[in-house]
Amino acid sequence: MEFEFRRRDYRAEHESQLLPRSRTLKHPLSSTLASRQQQAKTVRGSDLDFFDPLMRLDVNASEEEEKVEDASVSIESVTQDLMKEWKSLKRILTQRFPVSKVISFSPVSNIIMKGSKVENPSTLPHLEETGSEQTCVEETAKMINQQDYIAKVHELRDGITSAWQGGDRVTSLKLSIKVTKLLMDTTVLQFYPTVFVIVTDMLDMLGDMVWERIKEKAEHDVDGTLICTLLNDFQASDICLEARETCYNWFCKVGSVRELLPRIYLELAILPCWRFLVNQPLEVVDRLVMMVRGVADTLASLYCRLYMVHRMQKLGFCNSGYLVKCIKDIEDVLAPVIVDKDGYSYISDDKKLLFSLMEPPIEYITKCLLLVGRQENNVLGILEELGFGKNNSQSSTSSSHVSILLHYLLKELPSELVSSQAMEILHMIKCSNDCSFSQILNYRLLGNRLCEGSSQAGFLSSLISEVFQAASLYQTLYDYLRIMDAYVDLLLQNKMEHHLDALLDDIVTLARDKFLSEEEQASLQSIILKLLSHFEDLQEVLPLNHFIEILDLMSGTSKSSVNMHLLDMGTRNGCICDSTTVQLLFEVSQALYDATDFINVKDDDNRQTAHLISRFVEMVDYGAEMERHLMFLAECREAFNGIPELKETLVRSSNTLAVKALKAGKKHINFVKSCLAFSEVTIPSVSTPMKHLNLYLETAEVALLGGLISHSDGLVMSAVECLENESLRDGPKSMDVDSMASVVCKLCSLLVMVPGNPEKGVVEILKSIVSATCSSSWAMPRLKVKILCAIIKLSSTLFQDNLPYRSANPEIIGNDLLFFGDPSYKKELVSCTQLVLGELVDAIEQESSSQIARGNMALEACNCISSALIMNEKVSQLCLRLFEIARGCLGAKDRYIESTKKSLKL
């Protein structure tokens, strides 16, 4: 015998290596977390919902300070907010309303056609200087490309700047007047916002230039010497006569423009300059608000008001009074648009477009109003001025509001006000049903706003009843669903089961015997999802009125989405024991499965579905009815054949079931067998070979636990076959060396417990592993070394008289007892080892890709050999050889080399 394995006493080794242990009172991880949380609480107060360990404490502190500042609304912050809003508004205006490429223009905008040349004005009489030139009357509309139009306006704007810089301010003003006149043309509705944005940009620019010029005049005299420096809050009396005169002149020049709309716009552009003349521009503001009334065109006047509100910020004038007037005026202007002469309202496409164009300005103005109102602390007062809540005192419904205005007001109202005024708001929505905005959406908005705030349950019940009434007036399911969707959360939060039942009743009544459209499906989906997310447990949802019936109404993607949520919810709270629930979820899963194409499409959604179904199968628990459970698994295998992920779950479940049966007693051994059979049959359909291996091993373990040696032998053999077939399935590229090595190591450690088969030869399995490894193309040298070392270690272990561990089933006899004192057994192990050693050296020499890898492999092998075998001449020769290889590759100073050298006692 050339080799002899070292003798090992595992128990003694275990005890000597054991670290001294002592009991601790606190869990090391939980304790730190608790103390940290406490720390955090002291810093940020009690409203802490989560703790982010990455967030530093001092950061929290500064954040806190910022929040305190935010609480008080200052005029500056309001102005800043609105400036930001203005920027985004401009973006919205240009993006939201796309224009067909060619636009026809009425002759008003013939400046665009004529180009930017300024006729020599010096000799013209006063009238023409002020821009009241006669517009030539041409009936034929001209066509122009949109890009050309914009380019022309930009060209004009450049003309204005260059004229200004050249000191020719008169030309600059004249061009500005011409550009501003473009806003008089509303013939192409959807192009108006774009024109508005470019023209107001130009006007802002002009306004800034005039402001700077007058400021310059106020601060410096003719020679350029400094007179005074104006502070931000200067008074009109600080301004020298000269500057005031220039300023007044500008207003005169602008005031001499005949046409109303350009005159207003131009005055608004230089509006901030009023500060040079008067301290309280209130009169100016009031006059401008009234002047806009003279613009009869609805769209033009609304956009003009929008610009006015914007310029008021520049003036630094924050006062809700003028905004209230503005909004009242808007309401008056809209009134005739909404109701036609015939007295009833209908909506044409043109009007629809008109209203959609009006939305952004109205939104901006109401936003501004409520921001200012909040800053003045007078939101309620503003609402009263606007006539809110009047309906309550007067029984008649005289003051109905324009719904588009109502919508945006409601959108911006502070939520506490929405909940305290909810009844009034509801009445107002009821009264205002015009074509400017959908009443349904207003009902919805009210619901959504009410959900935001903490609502008082007192009036809520009557409110909801009224909403029900209002919603039932709409005959179609879609409208009903859309309204009620917004109130579902409210019903749930306030535990209004009675209403909830009524709602579900209504849905079923309205939807019965109907095919639901896509929109209806979506609304219904939203309602159901709200229900689902409100309840913790599926058991609470199922008993709801008609719930299953409503589920059956759904189809398509909405159904799938609802089903996903149902599954998620069902599997969220641990085991599913209730058989009806299981049945429901099974059906749900089946529906989901049928709706998804698992084979051809692999995306995140599918993965999610697969995951949910697998999780559901995993969570099902039939308790004592184990056979029923196994049947269920079989059903699942059949039903969800296309989900590979599920197969793994099935195998695991059936294994778990087997173990459970084993624990319950011996009488179930046949059941265990059927479980094992189920697993064995199922494994081959799992997708990846690596998973096969793992599952085979797992199942073999279960079989071993059950004392079913033939089963476990078979399963181990299957695993080894699997190893052999590996090369056929995947190329070497897809190999994961580490997980493969760990699977083989696991196999080896399992083999410690498996009794050898004397008929087939004890080391048969070992040999087949070695041959599978060595003959295969997939095994990289590194993997080979790892596997071969594991075999050596296994052989060494099997050689011992006492095995380190054995099967939990006492009926299984380990190899140590089975082959006790059998010399041929040990001989076989040694000869096998000899074979392995040869392969090992070969494998190391094969490694050519990296010197370092090769050195490490040599050392690994060397250590393995020296720990497994007793050092005789041949062994030490072998070790030395490996050591030399390693030293050649790594160099003498490598730490692994040094420690190996020490252990070898070289």
């Binding site: 006063h126 006669q134 009234m290 002047m291 005026d329």
Partner: protein
């Protein structure tokens, strides 16, 4: 570079009262040194009257210019003969328009530039340089505003008139649909107004069956000149201001707000040989196909599709207060 002469006034707005000295400097820029025979500065204020077109008859228009009325004419020598060095020379001056005790021919009317009447004050610097050289000269207009001590203070008491414009108040024929459908526009407007304040008022469209296309406020000046035995009156448009564009909402108050243009307007004057008065004309234009074909020669002329209301407007000069310009 040629030699240039400029008259620069001490005030950038060039406005002076009659009792104030007109101050400034004569700026001479010359590349070489030049000799001169003294610098004379003359002040010339006059009312220039002429008759052309308008209500003037054929005979009168032959006369053309009527003899101007001199208000002030005086010449002072700013510097006696001498020499300027090359470069820029500035010679300050100060002229009293009215010496105490000096008799003046006419009242110092405020500067006004009209169609037939021009009240103008000029400052001329003359630099004769002997026979061989061209004399140098420069002229600058300055503006006279009344500086009487008894001027009213701002704001002057509002004298508003209430007006009603309906189909029945119109003296010219209207389109039958306008006449039949009827309309009613009411409001108020100031009839006396300070030159420093905007013309203000209100206007409300109470009813109109035919849609309105525009409402405008026109400022008119009425210049009258006595030519021989008769008075020639010319009414001309100074400025139009639109206050309603399109068919505005009914019963909504619109502001009337017109900033008075400078120089083109002055306090209403009733002098012996001439007078300058002002009027406001409110026009309401109704929607009509007829309107499209017509050239807009005179926006205040009565038309079938327009309603008019003419109101007198007295303009007064007020004392300059702290905030006026």
């Amino acid at each position: 570079m040629a030699t240039t002469v400029n008259v620069k006034l001490s005030r950038s707005n060039r406005i002076y009262r009659s009792y104030e000295p007109v101050e400034g400097k004569i700026v001479i820029k010359s590349p070489t040194s030049i000799s001169h025979q003294g610098i004379r500065l003359s002040v010339n204020g006059s009312v220039n009257l002429q008759v052309r077109g308008g209500s003037a008859g054929v005979i009168e228009s032959f006369y053309g210019v009527i003899k101007p009325i001199h208000i002030v004419k005086k010449t002072i020598e700013v510097r006696s003969s001498g020499k300027f060095a090359s470069g820029t020379t500035e010679i300050p001056f100060s002229v009293n328009l009215k010496e105490d005790g000096e008799p003046i021919a006419e009242k110092f009317y405020e500067t006004f530039h009209g169609t037939n009447i021009n009240i103008q004050y000029l400052l001329t610097a003359d630099i004769p340089r002997g026979y061989l050289y061209k004399p140098l000269s420069a002229t600058m207009e300055f503006i006279i505003e009344s500086g009487r001590v008894d001027l009213p203070e701002r704001p002057i008491p509002p004298e508003m008139v209430i007006f009603y414009i309906t189909q029945d108040t119109q003296r010219h024929p209207l389109l039958p649909e306008i006449k039949a459908g009827g309309f009613r526009v009411t409001g108020k407007i100031a009839t006396q107004c300070s030159l420093e304040d905007p013309l203000s008022g209100e206007l409300t469209v109470e009813a109109s069956s035919v849609p309105i296309t525009s409402i405008d406020i026109h400022l008119l000046r009425v210049e009258s000149i006595i030519v021989g035995e008769r008075i020639v009156t010319e009414t001309s448009l100074i400025q139009s201001t639109q206050i309603a564009d399109g068919d505005v909402c009914r019963n909504m108050t619109l502001p009337i707000y017109v900033l008075l243009p400078r120089l083109l307007m002055c306090p209403s004057v009733f002098a012996g040989p001439f007078s300058v008065e002002f009027k406001v004309c409110i026009t309401i234009t109704f929607k009509s196909n007829l309107a499209k074909g017509q050239p807009k020669s005179d926006p205040t002329a009565p038309r079938l599709w327009m309603a008019l209301e003419r109101l007198p407007l007295e303009l007064v000069r007020t004392k300059r207060d702290q905030f006026s310009c």
